[in-house]
Symmetry: C2
Subunit: 206 residues, 2 copies
């Protein structure tokens, strides 16, 4: 039965992605994951040494799948790096669809519960977030050079975009709605337009 080959591991990682985003890492039991993945505990401990190990692997799995999503996304099409940066943020707004657990960030959720008690998970989450932020740096750097923006660095601005997105997710969870998240991304877009001195007049001011 080649169909079952290595299937349990991936099904467990997908279950972790879905269940942890809804219930959080600590509140998600190994039995929850096995039930959701349709496998047994034996399968779980065949593929993962511990729950903490699953957390690390889930963060890596998240990094893999999302980086694939972003690599194939249409926001790379614009010729101008600044336009690509704006297109990226508009794309992040487009992703705010469905229920809250469906569009929020797995690693942002996990790191908040584990940063003090599970260093390996913290590190994996940090690598995932920072790694994604760094994919934005070349475009930001080029746009900064083109527009003559100084006073900050491309790395700092890239990390700031991720901070705003993480904050947007928390607000969406508190409000129980994606609206506030889109609104806060709009503020981020407005900031970047102002910083690069290319505001769209009708949507900024006066």
């Amino acid at each position: 039965m080649a169909r079952r080959h290595i299937q349990a591991r991936e099904r467990l990682l997908e279950a972790a992605r879905d269940v942890v985003r809804a219930k959080g890492f600590s509140a998600t039991s190994i039995d929850d994951l096995c039930r959701s993945a349709g496998v047994t505990k034996g399968a779980f401990f065949h593929h993962f040494r511990s729950k903490e190990d699953l957390g690390v692997e889930a963060a890596r799995f998240w990094a893999e799948t999302t980086s694939e999503l972003f690599a194939n996304a249409p926001y790379h099409q614009p010729a101008d790096p600044f336009d690509r940066l704006i297109a990226y943020l508009e794309f992040r707004k487009l992703l705010l669809a469905g229920e809250v657990p469906e569009f929020t960030c797995l690693v942002g959720t996990m790191v908040q519960e584990t940063y003090d008690s599970a260093p390996a998970i913290r590190q994996a989450c940090d690598a995932t977030i920072t790694g994604h932020a760094m994919t934005l740096v070349p475009d930001i750097q080029a746009a900064m050079a083109a527009c003559g923006v100084t006073g900050t660095t491309a790395e700092s601005l890239a990390l700031h975009t991720q901070a705003v997105l993480q904050g947007a997710f928390i607000m969406a969870k508190a409000r129980g709605s994606a609206e506030i998240a889109a609104d806060t991304i709009d503020h981020l877009i407005r900031y970047i337009r102002l910083l690069f001195n290319t505001p769209t007049p009708e949507e900024i001011r006066q």
Copy 2:
């Protein structure tokens, strides 16, 4: 023994504030809280119907104590509402002292774990965050009128500041350092200066 009078409830709320910020809500057991507060389980269930009830009360306790802190803070001194807004954000940067669990937000931590499973906690956290944001609205509104800022609302901008702060805390947890949080607040300050068209030239650009 009047010394022990009514003390247990407050000690448990303080323990919740400290332990939950470090370990998260789900990972914090009632026994953890009792141990940290130096009381017994009997005392816990005398004052709180359930763990969820404690979560709600902890959010309210957080709202009370922090609103007292902010009410007495020096950022209200500037005569100009815009300057007060900037002073508020500088004050938030000053609060980023000590270890990560000491400066992060209790309700931001709690709501991420409970928004789907404990509606009462979600609501209490939302009320706390939104309530604090609304204290900023009068100054933002006055500053917007004075500077002629349009294209957004004072409420939206106030909520955005809280989103950025929450995101800053997540990044600090991921990185294990407050530095990134201060950096992202600086971006927020830069945004607000640009939006209100009163940049400090040397710290913005050119």
